[in-house]
């Protein structure tokens, strides 16, 4: 590649990757191809092609990464463990008296479910089936009902276990354990902001969703034991990591085992177990593949010295860090309209993360923020996967209504984002306590 500097080759490669991704090439192959060709351009054919062969093994065989299949398995087994209904019932009895009480109950039931599930789409599907009929029966606005389920489901990626946080940690080499613990509080803060929005909306316009009253304290307390299984799993995963008697991988295995036992107790059949395992295997291999292939691309960027150059360029340009940060938020919001979160993270982080670090932002904090941005992407049209899932379970609620239903929650998400940016302690304080 005569005449081109490594950084120019790097930029051309980044452009090529976006083009290939845009025309629908699978991101794993596009990233691998561009990375391989780039490495060959930079180091010659011999060295280049042999270098790419080192990466798939080296980057997949990683103890930290082995937590991923465990989290995925938890998600697939959670449905069979039948803990959704009782969580929703308990939340209804405790939060129903608020304006829009059933919607609020949905938010906290999803938050609880998030602790036994690693993927937002799973939460969306389960609660579209469980919570929407209840809300409609109680005369709730169907946009609100669909919107709260779709938006609530994005909490799943913040509250551990979360596959997205694991992927983030692997790419940028931050501690998975810290990330997972750090996601817990922002998840609850996010849920609280959703609650505020729902209560405000339904307070102003009671016809959207009326309070559900009439539960005695006795009835409330009697609903609590039903949530024990969820609390048990939360307790195991969270405290095992918080108190350090298990690594994330071990905590994941323990959590999966508990959900497995619950599912057996709830009557999961052998075929269902087989299916859950096979689906876990398929989703795992998908994530592993995209991780190592994107790391081929990242290696190419490293050889081109692009991230470092870009980072020092942005730092040297003396742009206020907050401005850079907000621009990055905007880029993620726009990309999130069209892209799947994992693909989006893997494509952007190699370049964005060095910039963020060079500006002095905390890597764990940014992980939480970026996962929140992914959550927004799961909701926004035209490709809002969680909205599609809700529509798929409830074809009677038009997609347009769902997209309108999530609007207040997008506002809430932006508010949460502003909160996390203004008060990073929301994320970091627990790390100071735990580590």
């Amino acid at each position: 590649m005569a005449g081109l500097t490594p950084v120019e080759i790097g930029l051309i490669g980044a452009g090529a990757l976006f083009l290939l991704a845009a025309i629908g090439m699978r991101i794993a192959f596009a990233a691998g191809l561009v990375g391989a060709l780039g490495l060959i351009a930079l180091t010659g054919w011999e060295a280049g092609i042999k270098t790419i062969g080192v990466i798939p093994y080296a980057k997949s065989i990683n103890y930290t990464l082995s937590v991923l299949p465990m989290f995925i398995l938890i998600g697939y087994l959670a449905f069979y463990a039948g803990i959704t209904q009782s969580a929703f019932e308990a939340c209804r009895r405790w939060f129903g008296w608020l304006p829009g009480g059933l919607a609020v109950a949905t938010i906290y039931a999803v938050a609880g479910f998030s602790a036994v599930s690693g993927a937002s789409t799973a939460a969306a599907a389960v609660f579209a089936k469980v919570a929407i009929p209840e809300m409609l029966k109680a005369g709730y606005d169907r946009r609100l009902a669909a919107g709260v389920v779709a938006a609530g489901s994005t909490l799943d990626s913040l509250i551990p276990p979360s596959a997205l946080l694991v992927v983030y940690g692997i790419i940028v080499e931050e501690s998975i354990g810290k990330l997972l613990i750090a996601g817990f509080v922002p998840g609850l803060v996010s849920a609280a902001v959703y609650t505020l929005i729902v209560v405000a909306l339904c307070g102003l316009r009671p016809e959207l969703g009326r309070p559900i009253t009439g539960y005695s304290w006795g009835e409330r307390w009697r609903s609590v034991p039903g949530t024990f299984p969820i609390l048990l799993v939360i307790g195991i995963i969270f405290t095992a990591m918080f108190y350090g008697w298990a690594t994330p991988t071990e905590a994941g295995a323990l959590g999966a085992f508990c959900v497995f036992v619950l599912a057996l107790a709830h009557g999961m059949k052998r075929g269902e177990l087989m299916q859950a395992l096979q689906d876990s295997a398929r989703l795992s291999v998908m994530i592993f593949t995209i991780i190592w292939s994107v790391l081929i691309f990242v290696r190419f960027l490293g050889f081109a010295n692009l991230p470092e150059t870009l980072a020092s360029w942005i730092v040297g340009a003396n742009v206020p860090p907050l401005l850079v940060l907000v621009s990055i938020y905007l880029i993620y919001i726009v990309l999130g309209m069209f892209m799947d979160p994992i693909g989006m993270l893997l494509l952007t982080l190699p370049v964005v993360y060095p910039v963020i670090s060079a500006l002095g932002y905390d890597g764990i904090w940014f992980g939480i923020v970026v996962v929140k941005l992914c959550g927004i992407g799961l909701l926004t049209p035209p490709v809002g996967l969680c909205c599609f899932v809700v529509n798929g379970v409830r074809p009677d609620i038009p997609l347009g209504d769902i997209f309108r239903g999530i609007l207040p929650f997008i506002v809430a998400d932006l508010l949460t984002l502003a909160l996390l940016t203004a008060y990073p302690e929301i994320v970091t304080f627990i790390l100071d306590v735990a580590f």
Binding site: E46, K50, A58, S175, G244, R299, F303, F435
Partner: protein, 326 residues
């Protein structure tokens, strides 16, 4: 010193982690070579951007890198004979002795042939300081106090600790702090003091062994043989020039780390454990000779002149004063 003339050459030298005492040597070499060549011979040091620590030998072999640092304990069977330097309780009291031994060892034909399999030739040692332990609970006074202690110790030090009755537990370096705080491990060994300093084990520990010196590991800088051959002689000479400077700066950096961290250890109220001669001899009786003998037996079975290599180490360790700088 003027500028030597020569063609434009760009080298990539891989390492990992963040810039720290260990990387002062290669940073010195980079600076010297670039200055003396008038910027024509550049060395880009990649902190993990060229590959993770376990990949680097492969990348050297395939020609993606012109130079790399590596630590033998990350992949012992890639160069079994070279692991001799990782044996526990080798008599390497200070950096000068270590430099003398490592340089002599690197000059041995069998070791050179082994590393040539990875297309590597030795440049210099990383002079990683002796490991020491920081731990929780009561400070160990005698060998008996190590019985049942869960220790983070890798490579040969792990083997030795097992013989002393401890339970070696594998914990990633970045997880040592938490593991020790939570009691998953009771004590951790790191190159002392600088790595204890960077992983902040002194914040969660209660005691620090000052002079146990259970061993260290070899983390040399290697050159790609072909890349080095292709250099003009004037550039090759720059590396010879740079080496003593790099060693001096490396030693100074480790010393500086000691000067910085020892007071911090004291401030953190670590109790400093200093073993007496009798105790140290006992450690060596149990943890050194038997491990060495086992290593020699295993390696000899694989056709490695193991006894000769071990003797070379012990002999050059004794040869005080002669050729401390090569």
């Amino acid at each position: 010193q003027g500028v030597v003339d020569g063609p434009k050459v760009a080298w990539k030298l891989a390492t990992w982690g963040k810039p720290r005492a260990f990387t002062v040597g290669i940073e010195t070499v980079k600076k010297h070579v670039e200055t003396r060549s008038g910027g024509k011979f550049t060395i880009t040091i990649g902190y993990e951007s060229f590959g993770g620590p376990k990949e680097l030998l492969d990348l050297l072999k395939v020609g993606a890198l012109q130079a790399t640092t590596m630590c033998s304990s990350y992949h012992p069977d890639k160069h079994p004979a070279y692991t001799a330097l990782d044996l526990p309780f080798l008599p390497l009291p200070d950096a000068d002795a270590q430099q003398r031994v490592h340089e002599a060892f690197h000059a041995h034909p069998f070791i050179q042939k082994e590393m040539a399999g990875w297309n590597g030739q030795f440049y210099m040692s990383g002079l990683l300081p002796q490991y020491e332990f920081i731990g929780r609970g009561n400070p160990p006074k005698t060998i008996a106090d190590f019985k049942g202690m869960r220790v983070r110790a890798i490579g040969g030090i792990g083997d030795a600790m097992k013989r002393l009755g401890a339970v070696p537990t594998s914990v990633d370096a970045t997880e040592v702090y938490t593991s020790m705080e939570r009691g998953t491990v009771d004590a951790a060994s790191f190159p002392s003091t600088y790595a204890h300093g960077s992983y902040k084990t002194y914040e969660v520990g209660k005691w620090f062994t000052e002079n146990m010196a259970p061993g260290t590991q070899a983390c040399p800088t290697l050159f790609n043989i072909d890349a080095f051959k292709a250099l003009p002689d004037a550039y090759k000479a720059l590396f010879d020039e740079a080496k003593p400077l790099a060693y001096d700066n490396l030693k100074a950096a480790y010393k500086e780390a000691d000067d910085k961290f020892i007071p911090l250890f004291k401030k953190a109220r670590l109790s400093f454990v200093r073993f007496g001669d009798a105790e140290l001899a006992e450690f060596r009786r149990v943890g050194a000779k038997p491990v060495w003998d086992e290593w020699v037996a295993q390696m000899a079975a694989r056709g490695i002149p193991a006894q000769e290599l071990l003797d070379l180490i012990l002999k050059s360790a004794e040869a005080k004063g002669s050729g401390a700088r090569s």
